[in-house]
C-alpha cells in the first residue's frame, strides 16, 4: 500500500505547538497529562482524572473522547500522552506508531467491559444465544418468533462503524461477517439504548455502563449453554460470553514520571474502585499493580 505520511503545514504547526508547550511547561512544576480516545472509556477516564487530581493537586489531566481510532491517530501524532482504547491496537496502527516514533506503544489493560444486549422492556424474551445474535445482526433472522419471541419483525440497532464497540461486536459476535444493511447505526451507546427503549421490536448492544432505560438479555455462549446475566461476578469470572478488556496505550518514551505514576494508580486497588463506581468491571486481582 502506498501511504505517504502527509508532512504538511498542519503537522509542522502541531509539532511547533508541542515544542512551545513543552518549553512553557518546563518553567512550571505542574505536570499536564492529556488523555484521548474511546468514547466508551471517556466517562471512566474523566472520573479517574477527577479522583486523581483531587489527591495530587500538582497534576492536571485533560480527557477528551472522539473514538478509539481518533485516539490512536493522536498517539501517533504525539498530540496525546495516553490513548484510551476499547479494542486492541491493530497492526496497521502499530505500524503508524513505529513510523512516527520508532517504537511500539505499550499496552495496559485497565478495566473489563461486558457488552449487554438490549431489548425493549415490553419484549417478553429473557435470553438469547450468541449464534442467534449473529443471525439477527447479520440479517438472517428477521422475526422475533424465530428466537422464541412474539411474531413481530426485528429492528436492528447498531453503532457507527467508527466505534470500537462496533468492531468488537463484528469480530467476536458476528465472526467477522457483515452487519445487515438495514441495521440502524446510532452515534453512541446511549442513542442505541434510547432507540431500543422507544421501539418495542428493537434490539441493540452496548457497554454495560449504560444499563438503565431498556432491558438487557441473559446471553448463552451457544444454544445448549446456560444463560448468563452480565453481572460483575459473571463478567470478571469470564462466564458471560461477550466481554472485552479496555486498554490504555502510551508511547514508551513518555511512560515515566507523572504519567507512569498515574498509570500505576489506575491499575491499583484505588483506581479499580473507580471502575466499579462508573459501572464497568474491575481487573481481576492478578492483573493489578500492587
Amino acid at each position: 500500500m502506498n501511504y505517504r505520511s502527509p508532512l504538511t503545514l498542519k503537522t509542522l504547526l502541531v509539532k511547533s505547538l508541542v515544542v512551545v508547550a513543552t518549553l512553557g511547561m518546563a518553567g512550571s512544576s505542574r505536570a499536564d497529562i492529556t488523555v484521548k480516545g474511546s468514547d466508551t472509556l471517556v466517562i471512566l477516564a474523566q472520573k479517574w482524572a477527577e479522583v486523581y487530581m483531587g489527591k495530587n493537586a500538582g497534576t492536571k489531566i485533560q480527557v477528551t473522547g472522539g473514538g478509539t481510532g481518533t485516539g490512536f491517530a493522536a498517539l501517533q501524532n504525539q498530540t496525546t500522552d495516553l490513548c484510551d482504547a476499547s479494542r486492541k491496537i491493530k497492526a496497521k496502527e502499530i505500524e503508524a506508531c513505529i513510523k512516527a516514533f520508532g517504537k511500539r506503544p505499550t499496552e495496559y489493560k485497565v478495566a473489563i467491559d461486558g457488552l449487554s444486549v438490549f431489548v425493549s422492556a415490553d419484549n417478553p424474551l429473557k435470553e438469547i444465544s450468541v449464534p442467534q445474535l449473529e443471525s439477527i445482526f447479520t440479517g438472517k433472522t428477521r422475526n422475533w418468533k424465530e428466537v422464541g419471541g412474539t411474531d413481530a419483525p426485528i429492528t436492528v440497532y447498531s453503532r457507527e462503524n467508527s466505534s470500537g464497540t462496533y468492531e468488537f461486536f463484528k469480530e467476536h459476535v458476528l465472526q467477522g461477517k457483515d452487519f445487515a444493511a438495514s441495521a440502524q447505526t446510532m452515534p453512541g451507546t446511549a442513542a442505541v439504548l434510547q432507540a431500543v427503549a422507544k421501539d418495542k421490536h428493537g434490539i441493540g448492544y452496548g457497554g454495560a455502563a449504560y444499563g438503565a432505560g431498556a432491558k438487557h438479555l441473559a446471553v448463552k455462549a451457544d444454544d445448549s449453554a446456560p444463560a448468563i446475566e452480565p453481572t460483575e461476578a459473571n463478567v470478571v469470572g469470564q462466564k458471560y460470553p461477550i466481554w472485552r478488556y479496555l486498554f490504555i496505550y502510551v508511547n514508551p518514551a513518555l511512560d515515566k514520571g507523572e504519567v507512569a505514576t498515574y498509570l500505576k494508580w489506575i491499575r491499583s486497588d484505588d483506581g479499580q474502585k473507580v471502575v466499579k463506581d462508573v459501572g464497568y468491571f474491575p481487573l481481576p486481582a492478578v492483573l493489578r499493580d500492587k
Binding site: M1, E93, E95, G102, K103, G176, Q184
Partner: protein, 395 residues
Amino acid sequence: MSPRHTTGKRSHGWMGLHRGHRARPLEWLAEKFIFAVSLSAILVVLLIFLFVAREAAPLLYGRMNSAAVQEVIPVSEFDKLSPAQLQQYLGLTPSELAAMDRATLQSLMEVKVEALAEIPAAFREDPDARINTTQWRYLLRSHQWTDYAKPEFIWQPVGQIKKYNIIPLLIGSLKTTLVGLLFAVPLAVGAAIYVSQLARPRVREVVKPTIEMLSGIPSVVVGFFALLVMATVLQRVFGYQTRLNAFVAGIALGFAVIPVVFSIAEDALTSVPQAYTQAALALGSSKWQAAWQIVLPAALPGVFAATVLGFGRAIGETMIVLMVCSASVMSWNIFDSARSITTTIAAEMAEAVSGGPHYRILFLLGAMLFAVTFVLNLIGDVVMHRLKLQLEGKR
C-alpha cells in the same frame, strides 16, 4: 426622454472608475482592496475543490489497494532486500527510510507479518480477501461476496473485507432529498404566491419574516426534534415498520428547504412587473386568476430555480439526516432507512486512517457532492438572472 439619454453615452471606465473625475488615491486603494476581498471568496472555493480532489486522486489513478491479504516477506529475509525494495514494501519515503535504524525497520516488517496473522484463518482462505475493493467495478457495481446469496451493493468499510460500494449512499441521498423536496416545494411555492400576490400588506409583514426565520433554526435542533418527536408521531399516523426512515428524514429536511425555496420563489414572483397584474385585473380577472394564470407562469423559471437551489441545500444537509437515519440499505422504498453521502462523511471521517482507502473514498464522495451542488447552484443562479432580465424587458 429620461435625463440619462440626453447626456449621451457615458464612459464607465475600468472597474467603474470614471475617467472624467479624478479618483482620490485613498478611494482608489479602498476600491482595489474590496475587489481583492471579493475575489478571495472565489479563490477559497477553488482551493477547497482542489484539496478535496487531490485527496481522492490516488483512487482515480488506481493506486490504492485494499485487499486484506497481501504478500508478506518474512523478517529473516531482511538482509536480502535492497533499500529500494524495502522502501517500496514498507511504504516509506526515501528520507523516512534513511532516518530509521535497523531495529525499527525490522519491527515494521514484523508488524506486516502480524497484520497477516491478525486475519482469522477463515478469511485468509476467502478469495474475497485478495480483491482490491477500491476498483471502480466494486465501487459502482454489485458483487456476490462470500456468505451472500446473490450479488449485492454493500457499504461496510470497516471489517476484514472492506466493501466500499457507494450506490446505497447515492440512493440514500437522493431518496431523502426527493422526499424533502416533494414536501417542501408545494408548501414553499404556495406560501410565496400567497405572500407576494394575495396577502394584505400587514399579513405579509408577519408571514414573510416568520417563514424566513425557519432558516435560522440550527439543523441540529431540527434533527433532534425529528428524532424524538416527529419519528414517533409520523409512525403513529402512517403505521410503517421502521421508526427511523428516509421519510422522517425527508420531512425534517423539508423544514430546512422551505425557507430557501420560499425566499427565491417569492423574489421571482415579486419581480414580475405590477403592470401584468394590473392589466389582468382591468380585463376582469379575479386576484386569484391573475396570480395563478398570469404571474406564476411569468415567474415559472424562478420557481424552477428555487427548486434547484432547494435540491442543492437538501442534498448537502448533514446533521438532520445523520440524526434521523443512517442504515445503508439498498432500497428505493422511502419507508426504509437510508444513509446519505453527507452522513457517511461526517460519521466516518474522524476514524478513517489518513491516506488509507476508506479516507480516499470519503474524499471522492465529498468531491462528487461538491460538484453536484456547484452545478445546481450555477443552474439556479443563471436561470434566476435570465428571468430578471426578461421581466425587466432587457432581453
